[in-house]
Chain length 369, copies 2
């Protein structure tokens, strides 16, 4: 095999492919990038058995063939090369020579036959949205998946298509994040659970441009994202997602209208006195026209008032400040509405059109304080 | 005590003062910033017993007094405040209230009397240079001090004034870095050893502008740097510095003229195959008009040639690539000269005027490879 590509094209494609390279595995082949130049185009393929990526590389095939290279060493070599043409050549004994200007590297390759190719997804039932929208929806929900695997379902996000709307949901037992987007066409109704890791890796390689699109295809156990010259295939999480509709009551006793940025900055200041692993809540007192935030700790105390508009009852309620901040950071609206029932019921931050809903459970501060 | 300052002025002064706050100490007062508003100006003072900083803060004294505040909490509070006027007020029981717009923080203070003030250095025998020059000289030598304290002297840098030249020297047993700068006036000859930590902290707070100056004063056991509205006092390292003149032979058998950036990039590529703690050298073969770099490792091998001009004998010599790169990174010249004697003698990188000299010991690659 021999291919010739520019250093920049190689770097771009390696950075995409790296997202599906396994870390810490006992199978070295999973730590490789497969260079597949067996047909008319050069492809880089990676596969950690959960997530697989295939991307087309600009360049010229001087001699067809395939070879697998340790992804880390290969990417470091390419990164340090001068900005010029690079030739990658594998001989019959799998020795690979990488040449650029007068620099010449030799590294051992592995047989391409050992590599597990991506599963083939039948390309029916696709969904097309802009890369910008997908990237935003992931950013606006990914923070509330659960990180540990006690409940596999919580480590993924629900992607649900119903009545021409794509809904993305994540929850971790303390909070729920929901984003809805109206689709431009009608699609078949569908519900799948996509691993959080897949979503965070994919959002790193999406260009995020509003006028580039991504096509999403569904197989029985897999989801396929196709965009630019890249395919990302991921396993789905099996099972039935949580029934969130019954958690989303529309009743409230108090509605607060507040400036998002002021509220966020104020919580940020209050959380100064909360060290990691400290379960101390911030206490929010809502009265007519003012919200007062308070925190008390061994290090000191803090107290601040924010102007608000209030409909309904006064309320005194405690929250984990991180959960409030996570939601407030990903909302774009300048003025937001918060709906509350009582100090033991969840609060909702949502817009009138329900394009977003953030549910956050309160903390019982009598027990803690 | 009560002072009123802008958030920005406070932040600026705290960032300077933080550089002499002790980490991990059993004496909490060393982790404090002293706010001294007992006279006509507000001063922040910090002192970790090796290094001390005093800086003047813009602001208004509403009530005179002094108080010490935990530096970490104080700086975090100020950092998170809105961009507005801040009032800092201590009551008789040392409770400190920090108020900014509608945010109010309370933290405990410590009596200013517990604080150890900076030693007073008599301001005779000063030396004045530009902040840019001092900052550059530190950056160009600091990397070759020794980090561990087996030899205290090696953890500092020699500052020597002789015949109107300031010479700064650092060495760690494997290499020596020397920078010389012509002073604008004649000063008394002098030799002191300044702790490396002092120099790296001071270079962080020097503005680095060519038209701002720093005045340096010498006491029997201390050095004082005065610039802008800040004073930095440091203990000196006691003892007689290494006699470096006898290590700096001017003889050579080979002189190489090479493009610095090409040489640096090439070593950078070769060092890909050297993992941390690996003592493997890169082998440099110098022949007429070409330098060839080679490295062999279990991960792979690399080989590259660079055009050079050579005077004298051919030579094959091994180096720790990091030592070469450290020196090459801080030299500004595009074309440099390297002087070599034999594979067991140090090489010198220096300009003709000797404004810089970098001595690097070779590695005996027969023993290693």
């Amino acid at each position: 095999m021999k291919i010739i590509c520019s250093k920049n094209d190689l770097s771009k494609s390696i950075n995409i492919a790296l997202k599906a390279v396994a870390n810490r595995t006992t199978m070295p082949i999973l730590e490789c990038i497969l260079i597949d130049a067996s047909a008319d185009q050069i492809r880089f393929v990676t596969n950690d058995m959960e997530l697989g990526i295939e991307t087309i590389v600009e360049g010229e095939i001087a001699q067809r063939g395939i070879i697998a290279l340790d992804a880390k060493i290969f990417s470091e070599i390419i990164r340090k090369l001068p900005d010029s043409q690079v030739s990658i050549e594998a001989d019959d004994s799998l020795n690979v020579t990488i040449t650029c200007e007068r620099a010449k590297f030799s590294i051992p390759g592995r047989p391409g036959e050992d590599f597990t190719y991506l599963p083939v997804i039948e390309k029916s039932g696709s969904l097309t949205i802009s890369q910008f929208t997908l990237k935003e929806m992931i950013r606006q929900t990914i923070f509330s998946i659960a990180v540990n695997e006690n409940n596999k379902m919580m480590t993924g996000e629900l992607f649900e298509i119903r009545d021409g709307v794509l809904k993305v949901v994540s929850l971790d037992g303390h909070r729920i994040s929901i984003r809805n987007v109206q689709l431009k066409k009608q699609y078949e109704d569908r519900k799948v659970i996509v691993p959080g890791k897949t979503l965070s890796e994919i959002s790193k390689i999406l260009s995020g441009e509003a006028d580039s699109t991504v096509s999403i295809f569904f197989g029985p156990n897999h989801i396929l994202f196709e965009f630019d010259r890249t395919m990302v295939v991921s396993r789905l999480i099996e099972g039935e997602y949580f029934k969130i509709d019954q958690m989303l009551s529309s009743d409230h006793e108090t509605m607060v209208t507040i400036n998002r940025k002021e509220f966020l900055d104020c919580i940020d200041r209050a959380s100064l006195f909360i060290r990691e692993n400290d379960k101390r809540p911030i206490i929010i007192q809502i009265t007519d026209e003012a919200m007062e935030l308070k925190i008390d700790s061994a290090m000191g105390s803090m107290d601040e008032q924010i102007d608000i508009e209030k409909d309904g009852k006064d309320i005194l309620i405690g929250f984990n400040p991180k959960f409030l901040m996570d939601a407030l950071k990903v909302i774009d609206d300048e003025i937001i509405h918060i709906y509350l029932v009582n100090p033991k019921a969840p609060c909702f931050i949502r817009d009138e059109e329900r394009t977003y809903t953030y549910l956050i459970l309160p903390v019982n501060f009598n027990q803690v304080g």
